[in-house]
Symmetry: C2
Subunit: 516 residues, 2 copies
């Protein structure tokens, strides 16, 4: 490994190891991993996976550590393979309208680079400033404009992936269309680092729509009415570039923080944007469709005042964070059930006496119930957290944070179950990670879970990649009883660490607010 | 099987068996299959696949038989499982903007049913009147408007699939977004009937864009200039709903047939449509972007005259068919290489002295070189066809048609190779089937082919489903040496044929012209 990872670095610095225990899910591992290897090139990744496969060392691929489902948290005996330093945009071809990137590039960076050519990278997870494209690909991230312009899967044309054992697999192509063989690209997108490690991606770029977008802010008597209005928008044949719903909790938090009086206009907000040559006409159609449901409707085509209207969405999470630590959930329901689900979440919060604020990508039926853990309450709670729910207990954001009250997890459980009962899904865009494994079989069925385990074994026969993530009951995936022991993992890598590499201490967790 | 398929029908009528030898690829099987079973419900499909798995009977799933790559042709000893009678739209939900369909529904039927609610099914393969949605899903079919609105994969939210052995697998969901587990839906889309048999699909519908589309017809001095203009359209930031290129051969065929004088305006035609509220503004931008390249530019926003402009595209294939039998090819290249590929195809045709006309979905870089086999020439050829090229020789459309000259196959071979050299793909939207197996490894690499074989074995461990299709060297997929013999296949099914079922004689091949 010495030669192969000479350009990378190997760290056992306690700060590095501790940082890799957590992401932004509130689901840290019980103890630090054995080692962090930072790859700077494909050869590093190949060398690590070759050795890890040979010695059955469990590997956790990791980008910026901004995940919300525990998909990149690492625990005892595990090797963290950080891709953050593989952060070059290798190519940006305006003529082909594609970019080829390494996994550590941030979505916003690519978007900005493309803008110089009148192009953009359409998927825009709210975390696009802090999360990496590798992580976006691992979770098939959505974003604000994905109802109109597609989620990450639609933007990924091809991948270079290193498989356990070190083999390099190329999937897909540089063309927009192509159907030769099975769609391995789509299978890998959203696989949360359990099938292979993405080392490069060919991504589709799209033209920036011409003209200025038009922005509509509409207020409603309650979130149910706002959700119904979102349905009316779609029924009117308008496909907005953005359609975001904020409930009364968000408006209250914004008012309290910023001294505004949004709640004088209504108890829920629907923010919409239309774009392209017909932006104004579409905004008018949209406004007409929702006016009867709304208390107040404001339209702007001027960038400055549009920005003002959008401020509520942009500042929504920071506003909520002032109330306590946010645990960000993510479910999706069929579009017709959006209003019903918004109500169900509020009722569940009341029943369990927990604070829950809801925002939604309303055009997708994708809701983010945000549980707010009061700092005082959180500090006093947690006695039972590690006991009853090995699956559910745990702290958040950083491994030292206070534990999450059981009531919050019980409410979350009910939210997930309700979404499934409505024909929805456990996760619209954040992934399963560790956090939602226990509900996966309820959504997919045992037959599908079993099939997926067997597919996983084709890519990773020894079960070394992000084991225990995504699919329930990892023991069933592969026999890992003969895996290298915890002590061995450190030893194997330690012996091979290049000189001077272990001192690196930058953290893998990105700064900045959590984002949805 | 008697009980389980009591509602279906089993046929050994020679007309049925003969029809199942061919599709529209020019690649019939050497002899008829053993039997055709027409399923009318999921239980029929489960019963057939349970028995077929048990007795190792090879099964060829088949819809309308309109495929262009031999993916649904059936040969000796094979059981044809026809899904054409499973043709109900089970549900159409305007509120959820989805439809749930059986595989035998035609895309155009669904599109029409959705139109009653202001919605549409976006993927519009040119075959949408005659091909089934099951076939569209099997090949991940594209279409004229897919550059803006997505290919079939983007429209498929979930599938019900029967696996070999008879198990029913549900993939995906009714929600627009969802990332729980691996994307089996996307893996199955485009798998050409080799992983499972689709018995139902939840499909996304989209609003019909408001207003009238605007149509632009532009003529150019040659196809190279037209292709360059297509690039200029995209570079100008316009995303047309349709952008079709026709070369001089097509214009000549249209003029000869219809008495028009298109070639007085230019030697190549680019047809574009913009849609939505900004259709006219976008058409103006588009026209401005291409004007310097063009000899003539015509714009229309009036439905009747737009229809007139689009007639050239609609009638292109019928016009070519008057010259001889068309063999429709399908490659895609990175967008920047479109003009180069158009030229390469023409040169290859000249070099091999074969007639080739090219049309292209120009916004996607997806080209359809159409080789025209002159009836006289075709009748006289074919002596060598069955000899040198077991892979390439063969007749077309119906099994009795004259063989394709070797020169055509040699030219096709060069077209495929050239597309791959340009970083393109063997097939943009028609699939690999039998026709392109020999080039698959050149595109995907041996490692990927091997991985795909192992994935296939997870779904179909005995290799009974559409064996020999898509991946090269079927023998490597699974050991089929102990498969039921040809005589046995007929015997197994024959013994179970319900009374009166064998007399059904309608053909599985759809009427109407081939379409791209």
């Amino acid at each position: 490994m010495r030669a192969a990872t000479s350009a990378g670095s190997v760290s056992q610095d306690p700060a590095d190891l501790t940082a890799a225990r957590a992401d932004r899910s509130g689901w840290p591992s019980p103890a630090p991993p054995a080692v962090v290897v930072r790859a700077v090139g494909v050869d590093d990744v190949r060398a690590v996976l070759r050795l890890a496969h040979e010695y059955r060392v469990p590997v956790v691929p990791r980008g910026a550590g901004t995940g919300l489902a525990g998909g990149a948290v690492a625990g005892p005996g595990e090797l963290v393979l950080s891709l953050e330093r593989m952060n070059r945009i290798r190519e940006l071809s305006p003529a082909d309208m594609i970019a080829v990137v390494e996994p550590g590039v941030r979505a916003a960076e690519l978007d900005q680079a493309a803008a110089a050519h009148g192009l953009r990278y359409a998927p825009d997870p709210a975390s696009h400033d802090i999360s990496t494209l590798g992580g976006n690909i691992a979770t098939n991230a959505g974003g604000l404009r994905c109802a109109k312009y597609g989620v990450t899967r639609e933007a990924v044309l091809g991948l270079d992936v290193v498989l356990p054992g070190g083999e390099l697999l190329r999937t897909g192509r540089r063309t927009v269309k192509g159907v030769t063989g099975y769609d391995l690209t789509a299978l890998l997108v959203g696989s949360e680092g359990t099938l292979g490690v993405v080392v490069a991606a060919a991504l589709r770029l799209q033209p920036i729509p011409p003209g200025q977008p038009a922005t509509v802010a509409a207020y409603f008597r309650d979130a149910h009415a706002a959700a119904a209005a979102a349905g009316a928008v779609l029924a009117a044949g308008v496909t907005p570039a953005l359609l975001e719903l904020l409930d009364a909790r968000f408006l209250a938090a914004l008012d309290a923080w910023r001294g505004t009086d949004l709640r004088a206009r209504g108890q829920a907000l629907l923010l919409a944007q239309t774009d392209g040559s017909g932006a104004e006409a579409d905004a008018d159609r949209l406004a007409a469709a929702i006016r009867e449901h709304a208390t107040v409707v404001e339209i702007s085509t001027d960038p400055a005042s549009a920005d003002e209207l959008l401020a509520a969405r942009r500042l929504a999470l920071p506003a909520i964070e002032r109330l306590g630590r946010p645990l960000i959930e993510d479910v999706a329901v069929p579009r017709s059930r959006l209003a019903e689900m918004v109500e169900a979440i509020a009722r569940i919060g009341e029943r369990h006496n927990v604070v829950v604020a809801t925002l939604a990508h309303a055009a997708d039926g994708n809701l983010h119930p945000i549980f707010v853990v009061d700092p005082a309450e959180a500090a006093g709670a947690g006695a039972g957290a590690g006991q009853g729910g090995a699956e559910l207990g745990g702290a958040a954001l950083d491994p030292g944070a206070p534990q999450v009250p059981e009531a919050v997890w019980r409410a979350a459980d009910e939210v997930f179950t309700t979404a499934l009962e409505m024909g929805g899904t456990l996760t619209g865009e954040h992934g399963v990670g560790l956090l939602k494994r226990r509900w996966v079989a309820a959504e997919l069925g045992d037959g599908s879970v079993d099939l997926q385990r067997r597919l996983r074994a084709v890519f990773d026969p020894r079960g070394i990649l992000n084991r225990g993530k995504v699919l329930p009951d990892p023991a069933a995936i592969t026999d890992i009883t003969d895996a290298t022991s915890i002590a061995d993992t450190a030893g194997v890598v330690n012996g091979a660490a290049p000189e001077g590499a272990a001192a690196t201490a930058d953290t893998a967790a990105a700064p900045g607010a959590a984002a949805v």
